[in-house]
Subunit: 212 residues, 2 copies
């Protein structure tokens, strides 16, 4: 199949751009989107967007743009992320509990399957059908369940140690919500920065007519 | 001054690209970064990055790259976001409380100054030096304090109504953490999507050698 043949040869630049298009599509509520509209989010030109997308087939309708859902599902296939991703939450404090309670991830194929903590008062509790286990049980849990991603929501003081332990347990994807920065050879760590959307909004406000 | 002369004429495309560079710099922990490195995050080419940045002066050192802090501060000036942004949290549940407890925003000029809720048990409480007021007090609070941004962390069922009220109170920037989508003419609303970083990590995992 054309898609799979191409997948293994995809240059990093195209993977990056497709994942940016994918993120824009995931936030789009209308049924159709133009290449100009996608390009405007990235400060790039629409010809680049059309060129990238046309590599994989004909998704646009002249005068209407791309069918958002169709393009979204196709990019998902091209990127190889059209599967379910099992997520565990490490640290069930304020942010960790908020993640455990959140159900919106499921629409996007991210299933939160359990929480882990060291606090005796939390262990055994069930939040939104997700049980909280002692962190020492993680190694065993990973042996019995597929775990793709760990979201780290422990205090920064213990984040480094915990992230190393999580990687040792064999989890390959780590989304680090703590202020600590750490890179490990055995896994991909990505630092989640809550300020990013605040920055984006500030840029929009500063460069809008509303505040001038 | 050159910067200010240019600011009012900045095309949208450059504003967008600069704000993307700015976000990359805000996550960079090394002292120097190359145009290639910035470009790789965006799937663009390094010539474009160098061209954009050179519009505003000479920030790069041959063989070393850009001084991250210097470039960051300069882009901040160019974008007009080199000021403090006062933020209020509307809805002090799990996510709202996590935001109130978070101190990392201050480094980035975002000051959370108060929380608002309707729950009698929460009103009057002080979290991390930030007081929680009744939502009915917001209008009065906005008259007495500069409030640039409201982060909406109320349940989706009441989000639409609350966002309209917040806009009526005169707040121009709204960061909407709820699942509800709403656009208002008087303000800029931006939907915060917690899944975005999960998607980014999944793309990296799917296209890495770790999981192949």
């Amino acid at each position: 199949m054309k898609l799979f043949m191409l997948k293994n040869k995809l240059p990093n630049k195209i993977v990056t751009r497709l994942s940016l298009y994918y993120q824009i599509l995931s936030k789009t509520t209308s049924s159709y989107i133009s290449s100009q509209n996608i390009a405007s989010h990235l400060g790039t030109n629409s010809a680049q967007v059309r060129k990238d997308i046309s590599l994989f087939g004909q998704f646009g309708i002249p005068g209407k743009g791309y069918n958002v859902k169709k393009l979204y599902l196709n990019i998902e296939k091209i990127l190889g992320i059209d599967k379910s991703w099992n997520v565990v939450i490490i640290g069930c404090g304020n942010l960790g509990s908020a993640l455990l309670k959140y159900s919106g991830f499921k629409e996007q194929r991210f299933n939160i399957i359990a929480g882990f903590d060291i606090d005796k008062n939390k262990i055994g509790k069930v939040i939104n059908n997700r049980k909280i286990y002692h962190i020492d049980e993680l190694k065993n849990f990973v042996k019995k369940n597929v775990v793709d991603i760990a979201a780290i929501t422990v205090p920064s003081s213990s984040a480094k140690e915990i992230i190393k332990y999580v990687a040792d347990c064999g989890i390959k994807g780590i989304l680090n919500f703590s202020a600590t920065q750490i890179k490990l050879p055995k896994c991909i760590t990505l630092k989640f920065d809550l300020t990013i959307e605040f920055i984006r909004l500030a840029c929009m406000l500063a460069n809008s007519k509303l505040t001038q």
